[in-house]
Amino acid sequence: MMRPNQDPVSDSAPSGSIDVRREAEERWRAVYENSAIGIAVTDVSGGFLSVNPVLQRMLGYTEAELRRLSLLDLTPTEDREATRSRTAELMDGRRTEYHVERRYVRKDGAVLWVNTSVSAVPGSDRMPAMLVKIVEDITERKRAEVELLALRDQLATELLAMTRLHELSTRLLGITELHPLLEEVLRAIIALQNADFGNVQLFNAKTGALEIVAQLGFQREFLDYFGTVREEGAACGRASVRRERIIIEDVETDPAFAPHRRIAANAGFRAVQSTPLFSRTGEPLGMISTHFRRPHRPLVHELRLTDLYARQAAEMIEGKANEAEQRKLATLVEASFDFISLASLEGEVFFINPAGRRMVGFNGAELRGTHMLDYVAEEDRERIERQVLPTVLRDGRWEGEARFRHFATGAPIPMLPHIFLMREPASERPLALATISRDMTERKHAEEAMRRAQGELAHVTRVMSMGELTTSIAHEVTQPLTAMVTNGYAALRWLDREVPDVGEARAAVERIIAVGNRASDVISRVRAFAKKAVPNKATLDINEVIREVLSLAQPEVLARRVWLRMELSQSLPPVTGDRVQLQQVVLNLMMNGIEAMRAVTDRPRDLVVKSRLRNEEILVAIQDSGIGFPPETGGQPFDAFFTTKPEGMGLGLTISRRIIEAHGGRLWATPNAEHGASVHFSLPTEERARHG
């Protein structure tokens, strides 16, 4: 029995009511029409029977057009075999369905990647009657996949390049000369870019020009022409001026390159790139250029890698320059005559320069295990350890005198070390303790020599004032001589009288002897004065010196019935001086004071010795209550001609003044308010003498 509108598809469907079937059909149609995926039904040979709108859009064909086509028409040629075999598998029942990613060729020729699920629809004879294809557009996904792969390859390439760069660096470490280094880098870059030739130029700061130092592949003509470049037209010149990479893809078309076209043509390149090299601080160092036979533009990632290599080259150039500097500095240290040493922050010594080793007599090969203090004389070690090193660590430096130790003889070596903290340049982190020291022995010798020279000078000056002195001596000596001779004459006259007066004669002769003795004292004093006495400098307590003199003066004090008083300040700071000479001065002044009071009978004979400190000077005064100096004389007491003392001790004051002046002090006299005079002298304290 025939039913109307019987759909062959639904022929074998054991359906119930027609409505149910219609519903099913409509549902099916809804899916078919509105699905987001493509659906197609083909016959067993692949001819399209129906294609849903989505698939039509995917493929770019209308359904009507598709009906005239088969699957294979839409399959790219190279994929057809695979398609046929898949279909065959379906047909002969080996499979009931398959899922596959495949390509379709759209109407516009574009390739479409799809994911299809194909299943056979059996007919009444249970043999496949139709094929249903579900098609999903995976073009985007595929593109992403391809890109990912490309990226992965790229990364692989880059990784390879980095590895090569690292190997290159390692290899370059073994090369010490700059030019082979640069050549290696150039070679690497040429390989990286697949360039045909290239060169490296260095920037000559003096001339401001680029000079080729390494090249691969160029002929003489090019090298002569571009050997030194200063100008704009060439790629390197341009790059140098603009301080950035320049790429000339085609020299024939680049207008600025025009002047150089012939050379380029002769050299055989059509494209060039120049990458400038800069130091860390931005100073131009040079240029790396690569050249191509054909018009070319290097790829971005190639350029990126080129930059890495260029950085390497720049570092090498900078490094070589620094090395040269360092070598110069190292030579300085090695050749210096000063003691130069380096130690850790804890003071462990790890370097001493040759001069330093010589100075301290260190011929041990092994510095390790020695400490800075080992080089210092024992007496200074504590000061260095407790005061100096902490100062260096805290303030960064210290300079002063210290005695080093001679390893062989143990003798102390006076040095003037300058110890400072060496810091890391960037971070200022303390790295080591550096010591630079000058041998003071020379200086001490020089000081000694100078002191001797000064002594000589003082001597000569003294001798030069012989003019003064001679007159003074003449006077000092003629007085006793006159007295002696006159006494002699007198003696004779007394004896020649009719009645010789032996008593008078004898008295005269005795006077001769007495005066003669005093005169020889004067002579020996003068001799002592003229002698080259280099003062023996010692640390003295002036009060002690004064007290020592007192014991010498005691007999005279008693004999002359002098009241001696002392007003000495307690705990005076020490002075530096010659004990004997200063004793001479004090004794002389005291004797003068006593002498000045010889004629005093109406009042006590007071002799007061005072000492005190004023402004870093020790002041000593010897005060008498004698006849004093007549007001008119003023400064005359020290006039060598001038003798107020009966015994002719004027010379003593001059000598005393010279001694005091040689000690850096002054000597002067003042009248007292009541009676007599005071003679004062000042001496600088040891402290003041050292720093003053």
Binding site: T471, A474, H475, T478, Q479, P480, L481, T482, A483, M484, V485, T486, N487, Y489, A490, R493, W494, R497, D501, E504, A507, A508, R511, A514, V515, R518, P630, E632, T633, F641, F642, T643, T644, P646, E647, G648
Partner: protein, 202 residues
């Protein structure tokens, strides 16, 4: 009759020299007085006998030359012998010009000193005499009346009695009378002597 013993003053600040000089000078029979400074000497009372001064040039306070000048300013004409430990030529010239008898460097030969002393004493004695004379002269002149002095002035010039008389407007006789008085008062023995006296007085 005893001649007054001349005295030598010694001024030197060096005691040994003072003592030696004192001994020497006494040994030739002269008196000595020694001083240690010029001011001591100036403030001392000096006896009125012929004397001289042995003086060191360099002295404390009043120096030798200053003393010389001080004495001459005071009108004292005591002769000075300089002794000095310094052979200072300009100084010696100055001293001599100022009237010193001698300038001897130390040490001196005793003969030189003693000769100088003798010379100085001589000079002083002579000077004393002359001073005395002058004093006497002045005294005598003081006794002249004013008219007598006028007459004296004229006749000392060599004017004749007649001229003098006419000059003064008095008679020759009166002139002669004055003349006799003058000669008596002045104790002159001749006109020449009178003339000399007048010169001295001038």
């Amino acid at each position: 009759m005893d001649e007054p013993v001349p005295i030598v003053f010694v001024v030197d600040d060096d005691e040994s020299v003072r003592v030696a000089l004192t001994s020497l000078i006494r040994s030739v029979g002269l008196e000595v007085e020694a001083f240690g400074s010029g001011s001591e000497f100036l403030s001392s009372q000096r006896p009125d006998v012929p004397s001289c001064l042995v003086l060191d040039v360099r002295l404390p306070g009043v120096g030798g030359l200053d003393l010389q000048r001080a004495l001459s300013d005071a009108g004292e004409a005591i002769p000075i012998i300089f002794i000095t430990g310094h052979g200072d030529i300009p100084m010696s010239v100055r001293a001599m010009k100022a009237g010193a008898v001698e300038f001897l460097p130390k040490p001196f030969r005793e003969q030189d000193l003693l000769d100088a002393i003798r010379q100085a004493i001589e000079r002083d004695a002579v000077a004393r005499e002359q001073r005395e004379e002058l004093v006497g002269l002045r005294g005598r002149y003081g006794t002249l009346t004013s008219r007598e002095r006028e007459v004296l002035a004229l006749i000392a010039q060599g004017r004749l009695n007649k001229q003098a008389a006419s000059k003064l407007g008095i008679s020759e006789i009166t002139i002669k009378l004055h003349r006799r008085h003058i000669m008596e008062k002045m104790k002159a023995t001749s006109l020449a002597e009178l003339a000399r006296m007048v010169e001295r007085l001038a």
